[in-house]
């Protein structure tokens, strides 16, 4: 009897193990090492534009009047999500001096609250916790807490243009040194985003954004002003799958001089692609590839980073 129980237990363990392996194998990630900044990442909704029905109101003797209206999705009041990312980075510390590569895990837990919204305005408060662990570079491990307040305003009738202003407070701690706080920053961010359906009857979208962000950091030698453009494409071969490349050139001006840093200006260029499959409305699986080149006028500050990753994201929305 106990043998049978042992066999059942080992089958359960084996089954759970297989499920975990399958889960991890199927998982994907969004833009690997940028996840601590995921609070600044916005989702742009992709409206499916068609000819309006004519006539808008039909009258049926049995049903009555059916008046078609235009309904825009209302943001959910509460959203909770988690993203589990597994990736490889060839540059844990973002430096070309003594470059360290490692596999990595990043767990992200996010909750956001929309107290009230209008069709063209969404204020949002978001809290986020990130936990990064590197397989062969434990010195790079960090925990990160974020609080972001943002306001998104859609200012064109076709909903193609939006302006998002955000303040993000972020702190990073070292889990191996009694949660020693080694980095803090406040990001004052302004972003203009444009979304366009490229072909009328095809689910191919173009997204462009201009972003102006000031990072007030501690240590202060990381204070910087970012001027960034980003361009991405999203193609939906089926409704649950999106494929898209992106590129983001960015000019960065470091405003505080310090040891080894004098009037530092960087040109940062990131490019990559993302494939996301949403098999269920609460779950998405992604695979992505991100490559970054940072060219600095201060010798020793340039870096390259390549980070392919897989992640699984679960989201629950209320109201």
């Amino acid at each position: 009897m106990s043998g049978l129980n042992d066999m059942k237990r080992s089958m359960h363990v084996c089954g759970a193990g297989l499920a975990l392996v399958f889960f991890l194998a199927a998982a994907p990630s969004l833009l690997a090492q940028s996840m601590a900044a995921e609070t600044l990442q916005q989702k742009v909704s992709l409206p499916n534009q068609v000819e309006p029905p004519t006539p808008a109101t039909t009258s049926d003797q049995e049903l009555g009047e059916i008046g078609v209206v235009q309904k825009f999705p209302k943001p959910e009041t509460l959203t909770a999500s988690t993203s589990q990312q597994f990736f490889y980075t060839d540059n844990v510390f973002y430096t070309n001096t003594h470059q360290v590569g490692s596999t990595a895990y990043l767990g992200t837990y996010t909750a956001s609250y929309v107290p009230y919204s209008l069709v063209d305005w969404t204020p949002r408060a978001t809290v986020q916790y990130n936990m990064a662990r590197y397989g062969s570079a434990a010195a790079g491990d960090f925990d990160n807490e974020n609080l972001m307040l943002s306001s998104q305003y859609i200012f064109s009738g076709d909903r193609a243009w939006s302006w998002t202003a955000a303040i993000d407070l972020s702190r990073f701690t070292n889990p191996h040194q009694n949660d020693h706080e080694f980095y803090q920053e406040v990001v004052y961010d302004n972003q203009i985003t444009h979304v366009q359906q490229l072909l009328k009857d095809a689910p191919l979208y173009f997204v462009a954004a201009y972003d102006l962000a000031y990072h007030q950091a501690n240590p202060s030698n990381y204070d910087r002003l970012d001027n960034s453009l980003s361009f991405s494409l999203a193609y939906y071969p089926v409704e649950s799958v999106s494929i898209g490349p992106f590129v983001r050139p960015s000019a960065r001006t470091y405003v505080t001089n310090g040891v080894g840093q004098n009037d530092r200006d960087d040109f940062n260029l990131s490019e990559g692609f993302d494939i996301t499959w949403k098999p269920w409305k609460y779950v998405s699986l992604s695979a992505d590839f991100l490559h970054t080149n940072d060219y600095s006028n201060n010798s020793g500050q340039s870096y390259n980073n390549t980070a392919p990753g897989l992640s699984v994201t679960g989201t629950v929305k209320f109201w």
């Binding site: 900044a37 742009v44 409206p47 499916n48 029905p53 009555g64 062969s136 434990a138 990072h215």
Partner: protein, 269 residues
């Protein structure tokens, strides 16, 4: 002298028990206007179905021109039939079969699933108020409150309150939002019946929510450009990296780096 009293009592008792063994009706007619008939699919005979008529499992209810009827099903669902409608309810399968015409249904939120079926569509109703009209081989399915998955040719569509799904054979089903208060004000299936719907309070709440969305601009009259509600794709915009500075800040100074074997091993420095 006592025996004659005993036997009638026994007879009444047996009659009562016999009555309780008779099959429960599948549905009861609660309103009937003009031509309303019922019959069995196994027989061509039809009988008038005035208010109070019990329909047995497998029987259909049929309305004529300018006629209407209301049925209370065994599961407390209330179904209203418009003119020229043929409707059948199976208790065994908890399934409504609409063969022609127009119905409005209101199923209490009891957690049990009822299926509404036609030749072209299957809808699973849990606790929902809505309508279905057959138009040749096509149909219009709409929900006033609640939500329901609708299956057409094996593909599922999730319909929520305030949405209609229109299907015409040969074209893709289209989901559109509709004016719920206007429908409630003008539909004979709502205005020409006397009993409240079992989900009336949810219908009332839906109207309140609808008006709130109108006030906040989420519901507007249709205009160009017009957007469909059945596609809600999202694309992430490129994020702004903040972790690079933090990651760089973690970068231990050179002497310290050499004291950390894990980095020496993993990074080969």
């Amino acid at each position: 002298m006592k025996k004659p009293i005993f036997f009638p009592c026994l007879a009444i008792l047996f009659l009562g028990i016999g009555g309780s063994f008779a099959a429960d009706p599948a549905a009861t007619v609660t309103e009937a206007v003009n031509q309303v008939n019922h019959g069995s699919s196994s027989s061509s005979e039809t009988k008038p179905a005035p208010v109070g008529t019990h329909l047995q499992d497998g029987e259909y209810l049929k309305t004529g021109v300018k006629s209407r009827a209301e049925l209370e099903l065994a599961n407390q669902d209330v179904t209203r039939l418009g003119a020229n409608t043929i409707f059948n309810y199976s208790v065994a399968n908890n399934e409504v079969d609409l063969q022609a015409g127009t119905i409005l249904f209101s199923k209490p939120k009891d957690g049990k699933v009822m299926t509404i079926k036609t030749a072209a569509v299957t809808a699973a109703i849990v606790g929902t108020t809505g309508f279905l009209q057959l138009r040749g081989h096509g149909f219009v399915f709409g929900l006033i409150e609640g939500h329901a998955p609708v299956t057409i040719d094996g593909k599922n569509y999730n319909i929520t309150a305030g949405e209609i799904l229109e299907f015409t054979p040969g074209s893709k089903p289209q989901i559109l939002a509709f004016d719920v208060p206007l429908f409630l004000k003008t539909s004979p299936l709502v205005t020409k019946f006397h009993h409240p719907l079992p989900n009336q309070r949810y219908v009332d709440q839906e109207v309140i929510d609808y008006n709130d969305l109108v006030a906040r601009g989420f519901i507007q009259p249709p205009k160009v450009p017009f957007f469909l509600t059945d596609f809600n794709g999202e694309v992430p915009t490129v994020p702004i990296p903040a972790a690079d500075s933090a990651g760089n800040a973690q970068n231990p100074p050179e002497p310290e780096r050499h004291r950390r074997p894990i980095i020496n091993n993993g990074g080969g420095t």
